[in-house]
């Protein structure tokens, strides 16, 4: 679970945030300003300060917000000047936008506000549709507007080139003022309430947000144009209203509710992708006719409200079709305000003690939750020591509540003389609290509450309040202690101390009237959970203050946990091994008291029959386990079936099983057992258990037996090969030393794979044991060093290092329609047509109702929604048109189109466990780690990644102890990227989204991010898809499944010369530290069947022959990804004293250029001889 923040404002206007991983409120240190209200989302926080202006605080990120400005320089050829900026009168501007219609000289570009800065100067873009242009970047055409080419021809009369410049948003982690300008000048009155949300309405443009604001006069304003590249938005637009609004709330989706002065509520209707501000209001009556509503909070599917009597109400029956809901339910608790955060989680501020409360037990099936629980953590000031600011604002609180004006002035003088700046805080706090007519209820209720409630000052335990060594806690003592401390650091002068104690006496009298003496008890005014990603499974440490200090020390980093390094643990391990030595080593010849016997486990299952007609038949299944001749565990699997009334059986030796693959689907709990022979046939033993539990019991048992029989225990080695199936299951294989031997490597189909818990889309590793994965939802994960997890429980799993892992993916179905002349497009197709609701192929019927999540482990987390992001584009309703099914679809209707389809997506979520920990916060689409020798000591370890938005990132601080690293370094590119790989000598290659390849120059340990990109032309007419770089070899895969090898790489020219075609039928490639080449092949034919997605090994790869000769086929049938970059076992024959040192040094020293071919060829001759002799 990534760390996220809950934001809150206390009654003095100070903004605090509480991290889901932390245990104390951290004050927003920028606070020159006091705030009335804040509304947080994940990437930023909006607030209304006491000056009634709106401020924006964008959280800083390793990837900066940068916007690419572009303009085009246009030229025309004439016989005199050749190409020049002298254009024809009918031509476009010399400097224009891409269409040529707007005049855009370089000096017409300005920064949108003072919150932006230019990254550099203008420069020419030399990439033209994935192809590098000539140095000047010109592209040629016959005339404007026309098709441009990068080559100058005899008839090229005009040319143009593209200039680009980046600007960067710089006002991160600080409160930037948003001018209150409408379309026609400044807004008439100041702001009073604000609410941010709406990011689920549309993902276009990226990071789009809706911001609603209410002015003091009760008008509602909508902020336009907020998205990732424009965090501040463009301007305010007034929204017409049926009355005067006091407060508004906007959910993550299309839910917007507001409260009217008269106490009714209004609901915004007509909010859609195209119209995020909605179209009309509908009035809903207050839950209680006597007491009108004063506050409303909405989430995805919930509405909570508070009435004047502080009662809390929950609205029944809210969904996207019915944003009004159906009725109110009264809830327990009295609150002054409520906020709904992510996942419909609810936060409130209690009217009694002004504490922040969390609604426990809110789940998608029980949106109203179970009970309120107070967030009970200290503030950072409380722990450090009592800051002077807190003691002075304490005074102001007392003063304000008592209404003792005189005392206040005394106090103000006091603080004036002592430390000036506090004055501002004090006054600000008061303004914050008397903030106009908008919150009279709050103040009134607060007073009431105070009058009623007993003094809450002394309930805090000394450990929480953390005053240094002052055990007696009474009001007076507390006051004195605080004031002394306040002046203490500044140097205690005798007279100053005197004044302090005087003032504390003065305060004491006030405190008798108003029990809010001690500042220990924070009084909250506002809370916002819009950026706080908790759900009902989250483990929060916010509710038990006793452990706060102890465990706040625990670091979030992935270094080895304290429990593992603790002395007691070490002692036990050491003593146990001593004991074994003492008691057993000298007595091994003694007889064992218990003889080992055979242990049989039996069960019934269904088996997918080997012969036609294939069908599921009932079988008896038994596993016989026994001790092998050398004391190792072994076993045999038996499968008893009836054939023609005759009893027969099938068996498999446990030590011959190469892999167990769970194939869970929604109808059967099946798994497949492969042996080398079965892999050749592409026909495993397929079995189905009666229940999921039974299947997992069997899989766990079989998995342990298989591992035992092969002597595999504990976590995967650093050399292990990792692979991922299309179901997201993760497998590892311990490579035998002869896996890369030449000419006789271990056959691929004999490799033994075993499963590791978790769910990933891809995994990458290196031989130092650093392993990273990326989930289907693009979350980055780092391997923790454990094993097991998922269904591998108990002995098959480590106890430490196993964490909860979640993944989210979409299930897609298609709605198909055909046009007819009478009614237009309808869901009545021709009899020959596909189903009107189908899968992508059209062969399977998939309706919204009957489509289930991919397996019982997945649960729906959202409703069906139209997917506008499908390739080919869509119209405004998501439709794609075509002449007929099945052809290529386009996003607009033409005369020739008779059918149309649109894609619906529904998100589902998986929760499992595995040895993985999340690396927040940037989602990734690719990752690569430097391949190197197992003994090399490269630290920090170079690791590069591509974010899911296509940014290239370089990870800093990756070491063996902190494999997760510390932070990202953003590496600028002119377009989004999709694949990246780093080689053994720091050579970084990457593929851009347009299919072109790039080489990063000058990457070294000193300059981990390198200096610039070199554009490498792709193979002719091919768009590259993926790249992998080994020790020296560079391989790429293009979109048509061709595998390419880069020719002519030398240390002096690391970009190489050309691409050489190696093979087709390739989905992915992984090149390892020995330049070994492994792929996922698209289709492989076996003797019984065909498998798609098969692990294959390139045979005959040698230093002189890096391209190899042929493929060896391994495990297959749904494999999506493999990495062999951990395996640096040189085949035994390479271990020649004359060769190895030179190879190793070149590998371990990242500064040295890659070993030249010459060196390698020398090595090869010797090796070759050695083999032949």
């Amino acid at each position: 679970m990534p760390v996220s923040l809950l934001c809150a404002v206390d009654v003095y206007g100070r903004v605090y945030s509480l991290s889901t991983g932390g245990q104390q409120w951290e004050q927003c240190r920028d606070a020159v300003l006091e705030f009335k209200r804040v509304t947080a989302v994940q990437q930023c926080c909006w607030g209304i300060a006491c000056d009634h202006h709106i401020y924006l605080n964008v959280h800083s990120s390793d990837v900066p917000i940068r916007y690419q400005e572009e303009t085009f320089e246009n030229q025309r050829w004439n016989p005199v000047d050749n190409f020049s900026d002298r254009l024809l009168p009918s031509d476009r501007w010399q400097w224009s936008n891409i269409t040529g219609l707007e005049h855009q000289p370089l000096d017409s570009f300005f920064l949108p506000s003072t919150n932006w800065e230019w990254e550099g100067d203008w420069y020419i873009d030399e990439n033209f549709g994935g192809e590098p242009t000539e140095k000047e970047g010109w592209t040629y055409a016959i005339d404007f507007p026309a098709t441009y080419t990068k080559d100058k021809k005899w008839n090229s009369c005009v040319r143009r080139r593209r200039w680009i410049r980046y600007r960067r948003y710089k006002a991160t982690d600080t409160w930037a003022k948003i001018p209150s300008e409408g379309h026609s000048g400044p807004l008439p009155d100041p702001f009073n309430d604000i609410s941010c949300g709406g990011w689920e309405i549309s993902e276009e443009p990226r990071g789009r947000l809706s911001l609603w604001a209410v002015s003091l006069q009760g008008k509602v304003w909508f902020r336009e144009g907020i998205h990732h590249h424009s965090p501040e938005g463009d301007g305010w637009e007034e929204v017409s209203l049926p009355g005067e609004v006091v407060q508004i709330s906007c959910g993550p989706g299309d839910l917007v509710w507001a409260v009217l002065w008269e106490g009714q509520l209004i609901v915004r209707e007509g909010i859609t992708r195209d119209c995020p501000q909605g179209s009309s209001w509908v009035v809903v009556d207050s839950p209680n006719p006597e007491a009108g509503a004063i506050h409303v909070a909405v989430g995805d599917n919930v509405v909570w409200a508070v009435t004047k009597d502080n009662k809390v109400w929950f609205r029944r029956g809210i969904n996207s079709y019915n944003p009004r809901g159906s009725g109110w339910i009264g809830m327990v608790g009295e609150m002054v305000m409520i906020n709904v955060g992510l996942n419909d989680q609810v936060w409130g501020i209690s009217c009694e003690d002004r504490a922040v409360y969390f609604r426990q037990g809110v789940t998608s099936s029980e949106l109203s939750g179970k009970a309120w629980k107070a967030v009970n953590v200290p503030r950072d000031g409380d722990i450090r020591s009592h800051s002077s600011a807190s003691s002075s604002s304490l005074h102001s609180a007392g003063c304000f509540f008592s209404g003792e004006v005189r005392a206040q002035s005394v106090m103000s003088e006091d603080s004036d003389t002592e430390n000036g700046p506090q004055r501002a805080v004090l006054e600000g706090a008061t303004t914050a609290f008397t903030a106009g007519p908008s919150i009279p209820e709050e103040v009134a209720s607060l007073r009431e509450a105070e009058a009623k409630s007993p003094p809450p000052v002394l309930v805090l335990s000394p450990s929480l309040s953390g005053g240094p060594g002052d055990p007696q806690w009474s009001n007076v003592d507390l006051e004195e202690a605080q004031t002394h401390l306040a002046v203490g650091p500044a140097g205690v002068r005798g007279d100053a101390a005197d004044t302090c104690s005087l003032s504390s006496v003065a305060t004491y009298t006030l405190c008798q009237e108003e029990p809010y003496g001690a500042d220990e008890h924070p009084l909250w005014a506002w809370v916002s959970g819009g950026g706080c990603g908790v759900d009902c499974h989250s483990q929060l440490n916010w509710f038990n203050s006793a452990t706060a200090l102890a465990s706040s020390v625990q670091s979030m980093s992935l270094s080895i946990s304290p429990a593992q390094t603790a002395a007691w643990r070490k002692q036990i391990f050491e003593q146990l091994s001593e004991r074994s030595k003492r008691e057993m080593d000298n007595f091994k010849h003694y007889e064992q008291a218990i003889e080992q016997s055979v242990w049989v486990k039996k069960g019934t299952m269904q088996w997918w029959r080997d012969w036609k007609p294939h069908k599921w038949v009932d079988v008896k299944f038994a596993l016989e386990q026994f001790s092998g001749p050398e004391g190792n565990q072994d076993g045999i699997l038996f499968l008893y079936y009836n054939f023609n009334e005759e009893k027969k059986y099938l068996h498999a030796f446990i030590n011959e099983v190469t892999i167990l693959v769970p194939v869970l689907n929604d109808s059967k709990h099946t798994f497949a057992i492969y042996t080398a022979e079965r892999t050749k046939q592409r026909w495993p033993i397929r079995l189905a258990a009666a229940t999921e539990l039974e299947m997992h019991d069997w899989l766990a048992l079989l998995s342990v037996s298989c591992c035992d029989s092969r002597g595999i225990q504990g976590p995967p080695s650093k050399q292990a090969l990792w692979s991922v199936t299309c179901k997201g299951d993760i497998f590892v294989c311990e490579p035998s030393p002869s896996l890369e031997a030449c000419p006789y490597p271990t056959p691929c189909d004999q490799m033994f794979w075993h499963q590791v818990g978790g769910h990933l889309r891809l995994v990458e590793c290196n031989s130092l044991g650093v392993v990273w994965g990326v989930g289907y939802d693009h979350t980055a994960w780092v391997y923790t060093g454990g094993y097991g997890g998922g269904f591998l429980q108990g002995l098959a799993s480590s106890t430490d290092n196993i964490y909860t892992q979640t993944d989210v993916k979409c299930v897609y179905i298609y709605e198909n329609q055909r046009w007819n002349p009478v009614t237009g497009y309808t869901n009545r197709g021709l009899p020959t047509d596909r189903y009107m609701w189908s899968d992508a192929t059209g062969l399977q019927e998939c309706t919204k109702a009957n489509t289930k999540p991919p397996s019982p482990h997945w649960t729906w987390v959202a409703d069906w929604a139209i997917d506008y992001g499908i390739s080919g584009g869509t119209d405004r309703e998501g439709w794609q048109y075509a002449a007929d099914f099945p052809t290529s679809y386009h996003g607009h209707k033409t005369l020739k189109d008779f059918v149309r389809r649109r894609r619906w997506a529904r998100k589902c979520k998986l929760t499992t466990t595995g040895p993985w920990q999340e690396v927040p916060p940037i989602p990734l689409s690719d990752v690569t780690i430097i391949p190197c020798g197992a003994q090399s000591s490269v630290e920090p370890i170079p690791l590069w990644a591509i974010s899911n938005k296509g940014d290239v990132l370089c990870r800093l601080g990756v070491t063996l102890l902190t494999p997760a690293g510390t932070s990202w370094l953003h590496v600028g590119t002119d377009q989004p990227f999709k694949s990246i790989s780093i080689g053994g000598a720091n050579q970084v290659w990457a593929i851009a989204r347009d299919g072109s390849a790039f080489y990063r120059g000058s990457v070294s340990a000193q300059s981990p991010a390198g200096d610039c990109w070199y554009h490498i032309p792709s193979p002719a007419r091919q768009k590259l898809q993926q790249v992998s770089v080994g020790r020296t070899s560079v391989y790429t895969v293009d979109q048509h499944g061709n595998l390419w090898f880069r020719q002519g790489l030398t240390p002096s020219y690391p970009q190489g010369l050309s691409w050489e075609h190696i093979s087709n039928n390739v989905r992915k490639v992984s090149v390892g530290p020995l330049d070994q080449v492994w792929i996922i092949a698209d289709k492989v034919q076996g003797s019984h069947s065909l498998s798609c997605g098969t692990v294959c090994h390139r045979l005959g790869v040698q230093p002189m022959e890096p391209k190899g000769q042929s493929w060896d086929y391994g495990i297959g049938g749904g494999w999506d990804h493999i990495t062999v970059r951990g395996n640096s076992f040189e085949a035994p024959r390479v271990r020649m004293p004359s060769v190895t040192p030179s190879l190793t040094t070149s590998l371990t020293d990242p500064l040295r250029p890659p070993p030249t071919r010459k060196l390698l060829s020398f090595g090869n001759t010797e090796n070759g001889n050695a083999v032949r002799c």
Partner: protein, 275 residues
Amino acid sequence: MADDKDVLRDVWFGRIPTCFTLYQDEITEREAEPFYLLLPRVSYLTLVTDKVKKHFLKVMKAEDVEEMWFDFEGTPLKWHYPIGLLFDLHASNTALPWSITVHFKNFPERDLLHCPSNSVIEAHFMSSIKEADALKHKSQVINDMQKKDHKQLWMGLQNDKFDQFWAMNRKLMEYPTEEGGFRYIPFRIYLTMSDRPFIQKLFRPISPDGHTHTLGDLLKAVYPVAISNDDESKRYQVVIHGIEPLLETPLQWLSEHLSHPDNFLHISVIPAPSD
């Protein structure tokens, strides 16, 4: 970094080399050779000494044989204590192999329970597990198990099948994460020099204010004498499975990893050797 799972294996596969000699007063037809055996620390004497019995019966007449029992240096050995515990308690600082005397006569009725068959051991073992689970989970886990699951636990111990035993026993070691441990820790503290067989009290793994209880906390609460002060020399050894864990070892961890198969943490407090 070794994993905690290795501790379970080490505990299970702990063996004590033992030399069985027939008591001198037993009547034999010819001289009885001593019998050497590796005894599993986690098992019970009468469960693993079939071979011993067979060996000595070869030299004895059937009419001279009554129920077999054992002593170490004159102390009768209780079969219903795990073997490792007997060794730690009585013989931990003696030379190996452990020398046990075998008797076939004069059964010490006052000191030992009769053990006519393995089903008695099974009953004792299962009742211990049930008692432990009552302490840990209010018996919820053990009661949710089926008869065959109980059998699997017992068969695992009887046949020395680590995987078979732990496949079931891990369920007994689970606890709700939010509670941070078992309800009470099933433990027994044995003293060599006391009349009481052992000390057993209710003790939680987590203190009311949320701190983790350690082995030291337990001893302080239950048997403070065992803890020596800083200024004096060590008087007692606190031994579990032949090792002395540090006093700051969390009790919950000990209970999960160093309990015997009967799910109890058997702790021996023995006088420190005075060398």
